[in-house]
Symmetry: C4
Subunit: 286 residues, 4 copies
Amino acid sequence: MPTSFLGSALRGTFFFIFGLWWSVRYPLQYLRRKPNAESQPSHGVRRVEIFEGAVKAFFALAGILIEQFIPDGPHLQLYSPKAHSWTDLTSWHYTTMYLFFLLSGIVDIVSHSPLKLPRGLDRLSLSVALLIEGLLFSFRDYSDAALDHHLHSLLAMAIFAGALCALLEIFIRDHIILETFRTGSFLLQGSWFWQIGFVLSPPWGGPGWDQTDGSNLTFLTMCFCWHYAGALAVLAANSAASRCCNESCQLKFGDIDVELDCGMCIHKGNKSSSSALLPEGFSDDK
Amino acid sequence: MPTSFLGSALRGTFFFIFGLWWSVRYPLQYLRRKPNAESQPSHGVRRVEIFEGAVKAFFALAGILIEQFIPDGPHLQLYSPKAHSWTDLTSWHYTTMYLFFLLSGIVDIVSHSPLKLPRGLDRLSLSVALLIEGLLFSFRDYSDAALDHHLHSLLAMAIFAGALCALLEIFIRDHIILETFRTGSFLLQGSWFWQIGFVLSPPWGGPGWDQTDGSNLTFLTMCFCWHYAGALAVLAANSAASRCCNESCQLKFGDIDVELDCGMCIHKGNKSSSSALLPEGFSDDK
Amino acid sequence: MPTSFLGSALRGTFFFIFGLWWSVRYPLQYLRRKPNAESQPSHGVRRVEIFEGAVKAFFALAGILIEQFIPDGPHLQLYSPKAHSWTDLTSWHYTTMYLFFLLSGIVDIVSHSPLKLPRGLDRLSLSVALLIEGLLFSFRDYSDAALDHHLHSLLAMAIFAGALCALLEIFIRDHIILETFRTGSFLLQGSWFWQIGFVLSPPWGGPGWDQTDGSNLTFLTMCFCWHYAGALAVLAANSAASRCCNESCQLKFGDIDVELDCGMCIHKGNKSSSSALLPEGFSDDK
Amino acid sequence: MPTSFLGSALRGTFFFIFGLWWSVRYPLQYLRRKPNAESQPSHGVRRVEIFEGAVKAFFALAGILIEQFIPDGPHLQLYSPKAHSWTDLTSWHYTTMYLFFLLSGIVDIVSHSPLKLPRGLDRLSLSVALLIEGLLFSFRDYSDAALDHHLHSLLAMAIFAGALCALLEIFIRDHIILETFRTGSFLLQGSWFWQIGFVLSPPWGGPGWDQTDGSNLTFLTMCFCWHYAGALAVLAANSAASRCCNESCQLKFGDIDVELDCGMCIHKGNKSSSSALLPEGFSDDK
């Protein structure tokens, strides 16, 4: 069963939103990390991580529900006794993929809660989610659709690059270069999911691109590189914007900045107010 | 010659028992490591390691004997001069695999004995055992059994993940994230050996699953991911249980905890009693 | 469309020039690093890096313009509506490759400017450029030209070796062994581009080597090793020459040396003069 | 052209001798490293390295001469203008391989001489030699000889394991586990070259094993593992022997030990005598 455009666009949007968010968050965090160099994540950073985990879990749950309960989805049925065959493995395939991102979201929330969980567990769960995603796309049954296979091989490359980066972050935390690389791989993945949608099942209908034309493969390899160049451009623009915004914020105690990353502004006097939003048990365990 | 269900189940049980044991041991060790952060392994940890090595060597020896001396096994005969061919290479294949785990067990025992062996040798021997296991499964003759090949490729992935993790542990000792990942890979390997048994040679007889059906391959890839999700769930449950148990033990000086990891309780006053169980020469060489 | 000799020679020359430059620069930098071991790059090193980035960007821009605007180039046209096909993907392929080196050059310039960009970004952008180059050569459509494929597989090996080395340099800066290895891989890449030109489209005309002869493949594998031996010889000769030159310079306050790496001579009294060449805003931000 | 038994045995002997030597040298060095933990290699260790380099270069030179000037060798002729074809590429293949070990030997000698070469260059050159060897065996033309290909694939695995280990040693020097692993890979390589000789061109004549029999492949995979088990046994025996020998030497100031590693005994009073063997310029540059 071919990929639907909407499913592909949805997945792309999820990854792209995360990439965009990180392209703002990490540069800001990097610029503010300097003055007080502490190894433990601050109160604000921890709240941001929990928020991120919650959004990730919500996206994953939404993805699972959509994949399962669209009109022609499997509705949680795995084996059709009538047809003596598996029902709609593509939907189950995406459900499995979302399941591990749901897990990663939950681990994010739990590991930054006041429980004394070891650091790095959040990165491990993220890299496991990406490795499983890559594994699923690598071992999918493409039968003889060369273009389909090629598109997903390129996707798998972006996925594994992200997974490797997250694995390294278990050992090397708060390294801006690794964070930048991971952000880039998420932006690439997001936009490439959209590209896959347009190539294999165009939203305006029609049969998609010619699977047998070799020059399409060559073009799409290049196109993948251009997507990455675009992702890097977005990354650079957002980093530069964050920087300007941060500097003007430091001059004017501006409120745009506070909106953007209210959790990270604790060293600017709004610590008491942000702490007030937390429940009783959520105290700093340092 | 096809894999027998019993052999597969036996292998799975060995790996699963180790995974379960580690999922209790490492969280406990992590929680207790904090107060007195010493780089050398304590007396208790060393005894646990020797015990683990002995169990590993015993399992491996049992595996070798079973593979060789089951009624239709090769009985240590490698070449049949009558038939001018190798006899039963599958049994020899598993014997070789067990041999390296036997070696790893012996190295565990020797390297934590009072002899001044370099640290990390136990992890090297474990990773060598896993690499050899992975090599044997990668280069096995699957002829044209696509499903058989696919199942063992997935297995090899779990094996190599464990091997890589053990290799890293040569350099980064006592890292809870690496220990967790290794535990997960052993649980996955264990349960996947059972799955292989059920798919290729069901215990209720019959010919196993259809080797030519492509959708079986796709389903089993997903199934592999679910096994890992299950392994992670077991890991999380055991870690949580260890934690609760550890906390209640610290409150009540409980005896359940002492049973679970008597070797690690040395900082609670039973050091003298545990040392009393050791032979003369087994003194701390710090 | 086959590779043209001139294009191949141009690419080879770009990489070879960089290799040659590094084979002089890094040994000198290593010999002078000793006395004052500072972690931050000195003023002079930074100027050299900016110069390098500018040259890299210029080469890349020249490459793009040549690939696009040679008489039978695509002239920035990607799709030919008349022929209903992509126009000249080989030229676009090389344009993409140059684009990422252009990006890497710009990042070099920006990251060593007084802006507070994180260290390691220059190495990341270099390794991204190399990874993209390797990806493009790996996924190119070689149809059934075995020799063409083989030549570019060997090239991809040199490229990925360089990329891996640049990735490591993100974490391990100023490591002379890594710098030597990277230099060697660039020299190899440069000379191998020339070899590809001679094999596939000899400058004296003619059809190139026989694509179907297996012994050509075996010979070219060896030839690749000899190219590397040659690259190592050039590297050794240049390092030895730099060393002698450096020693005689330290004796005579020679002027040959100042020409070679005027930017690195700041600890010899010409700091004021070299700083005078810089614009106002370019002050040391230490 | 098939591999000759004598050539294979010669190569195997070279690697095995190095493995054996290291299996004595590194344990001794490890045991004696403890008391005075200095980061710079001592005078004695440096002399041992130079001796090793000289032996390596001699072996490699001998190998080159034998490959080129055996009666039916190429006698330095690469292209036969008469036959319009390459002459005897297999001999040139091994010549290339030996060439890089010759280079590695020379680098060993030079980098441990009083010249101020950066540390790690010896390990880099060793790993380059191994990578080139692996590359040559991976890209060899096996045409349709499945057994030949399989044997050399397994060999390439041992080679790449050694290369990876040497690469790691650039960064992590004097790590006994890495040294042990490298020693094991050399012993394995040595004994596997002998096995290749016996399988493909038995010394008692005859056509070698059946290339088409699948069970031969399966058996040889296992056989490779047994070779490694044997290599580990040799390693363990030699380490144990070195240890006993070292302990008895420390008790009796024995002379067997001095013969074994006279260069390393400098902290036992024979420093003056060993220094006396060195030429004038060879003074400690610390």
